[in-house]
Amino acid sequence: MRQGLVRALGGAAIVALVAGAAACNSGNNGGGSSSGKNCGFKIAYFGALTGSAANLGVNIEQGAELAVKQYNDKNGANCITIQKFDSQGDPAVAPGVARQLVTDKKIIGIVGPPFSGESEAADPIFEEAMIPTITPSATRPSLSTHGWKVFHRAVANDDSQGPAAAKYIKDVLKPTKVFVADDQSAYGAGLADVVKQQLGALVVGTDKTGADGKQTDFSATVQKVVSSGATVFFYGGYYQNAGLIRKQLTAAGWKGTQLGGDGVKDPGFAKAAGNAAATGSIVTCPCSPASKAGGSFVTDYKAAWNQDAGTYSDVAFDAMNIFLKGIDGGNTTPQKMNDYLKGVQYQGVANTYKFTDTGELDPQYIKVWAFKFDASGVDQPDQEIPKG
């Protein structure tokens, strides 16, 4: 599970490659775009369906598949097919699966990959094949800096999460002493550094723990937090370490509030910490609560899958609908689809989407929410963190 989250962060970067194709040969788009009816095309889901991080991937796949189902209800059964590619969320597995994907010339868009790690591995292959991607969840900032033209990211990256977390600490928790630690991962350390920088003199102590799975005894860190007198503890890292630290902090008698980023936004946090210790812990996420999605999405999702929409299910639903709207508009080659994504402005159930030149979500549509773990170990929406 730990690795899975890490991968999840890595996955978001894939989508941006499509637009600047002038210099590239469109060698892979020879599909049947000549027919008058815009049916018979495929949109792929690429991401984890099995493996330790499967839950996050399945949330996303089901959101995307729901959009296709609704589209086909209107436009005839089997009009558009969602083709699923199971990367297992593993950067080592992803490239092989991606090469398999790009051989299918009917695929004109990809929802995914959900994780940053697999995105780093698979996106270059999609870029080469010029198939546009929209990731609903990979938040590593560097994914948009590779010059990939097919990369699009439907959520804010981690650069907007750190300032939001710092703002929440300052404005809502109003502590005088904050302790910041991270797990030395690209994601965790990056996030913690931004929080440290934004909080400035409020930070009375810092520490770095082992990576996920490399350390279970956090007594040194715990002891530092306790003796620093901090009432707020921010941890940049993933949910299992965060949960273990929360549990050990509580066992040491520390009564403050723990915060984390979207890497901690998982039931696994409460599972590691125990519900009692987890209660009141805050996580930030560049996502809106799935339960607050517009339209009939929440009930439709529940009806289709017999479970509640999960993290990023709504964004995946929107990402798929962006592609479907593109098909409606006659963008039936990967090349045309990518050009269309360059200028699209789409109002979905979770957000409004518009992409910048690098494939990032337009800053005016970035949302960061805070969630609070309740006594049953579920992260409930707390409040949207205002910008600036």
Binding site: M1, S52, A181, Q184, T206, D207, K208, T209, G210, G213, K214, Q215, T216, D217, F218, S219, A220, T221, V222, Q223, K224, V226, S227, Q240, G243, L244, K247, Q248, T250, A251, A252, G253, K271, A272, A273, G274, N275, A276, G377
Partner: protein, 316 residues
């Protein structure tokens, strides 16, 4: 480097280090006992420990305790702790004997070279760990809140919790008991005889195989007790819980003088303390760097470890 932090936190770091070191020490006994007798590093010992953590959790689970249940009353807690320790020690002990019977004894009968033992030890370790990993879907399992955290001793900025006292006291008592057992009883004398010279011991009527099984059993019992203290301290266990701890405990055994029971205690406490001092001085990310530099420096001056005696020559 944060010297003021180290000095300011010296008290808390020492307490945290002693509690951590006490668990390392009990764990290290398993390595040291087996090495003292067989000249073999039992790498499967970390899995003997891990099995113990699950034995305790499953025992508590039978009584309907999971990590979200309330803390039971004091009397019940003592009962549960005793049961958990009993179950963990028993299962760990049995696991250790099984490893000996399955992985080592057949090789010994055929006079296999030392490398063969090394690889079967690693093999046994992987088999047990992976089997538990698959059976538990590699999930972590939370520990019931048996001990309500409370600060018992308080001076300056140093707080000692009830759990830390329990861990340190229990570890010292078990070490003392084991030390007396090996040095003062007939069975213990048999173990020492086999450690000194297996063939002479056999000629003098010591049952070699039984002495070896006893050594594995003792190591397993100590690992089981360490397992209960570990889960109470950490709050969770996982199929690979023994791995990192095993490295630290093995280091402790070498540092104190492998094959030497008291060396395991000294080594364990030193590693525990210096991990925490290192974490205070440089940050937690450097705790292993500090520990292993210390190990190398000490071994440079005391190549056979701080106390450096073998089990066989331990004072009677």
């Amino acid at each position: 480097m944060n010297f003021s932090g180290l000095i300011h936190d010296l008290g808390p770091s020492t307490v945290a280090g002693l509690a951590q070191g006490a668990i390392y020490a009990l764990f290290a006994l398993g390595y040291t006992l087996v090495y003292g007798v067989l000249r073999l590093i039992n790498f499967a010992h970390s899995e003997v420990f891990m099995v113990g953590t699950y034995a305790a959790l499953i025992t508590w689970g039978i009584f309907g305790l999971d990590q979200n249940s309330a803390t039971p009353g004091t009397g019940a807690v003592i009962g549960y702790l005793a049961l958990g320790i009993l179950a963990a020690a028993l299962i760990s002990g049995v696991t250790a004997i099984c490893v000996e019977l399955v992985a080592y004894r057949p090789l010994r009968r055929r006079n296999a070279p030392p490398l063969a033992f090394l690889i079967t030890a690693i093999g046994a370790s992987i088999v047990i760990s992976e089997f538990v990993g698959v059976a538990t879907h590699r999930n972590i399992r939370g520990v019931p809140p048996l001990i309500h955290p409370a600060t018992v001793v308080h001076f300056g900025n140093t707080n000692i919790t009830n759990l830390q006292i329990l861990i340190i006291v229990l570890a010292l008592v078990m070490m003392l008991a084991l030390d007396r057992f090996v040095n003062r009883t007939r069975l213990g004398r048999g173990v020492r005889a086999v450690a000194q010279n297996p063939d002479s011991a056999a000629l003098m009527g010591v049952n070699k195989d039984r002495a070896i099984s006893l050594v594995f059993l003792l190591g397993g019992l100590m690992a089981g007790i360490a397992a209960v203290m570990y889960v109470l301290k950490i709050g969770d266990t996982r199929f690979d819980a023994g791995f990192n701890l095993g490295i630290a405990a093995f280091t402790a055994a070498v540092l104190g003088g492998i094959g030497n029971l008291r060396g395991a205690l000294v080594g364990g406490l030193i590693i525990g303390l210096f991990e925490n001092y290192g974490a205070s001085l440089f940050g937690t990310q450097y705790r292993n760097v500090v520990t292993f530099i210390l190990l190398i420096v000490i071994l440079m001056f005391r190549p056979s470890g701080i106390l450096g005696e073998s089990l066989g020559r331990a004072r009677a």
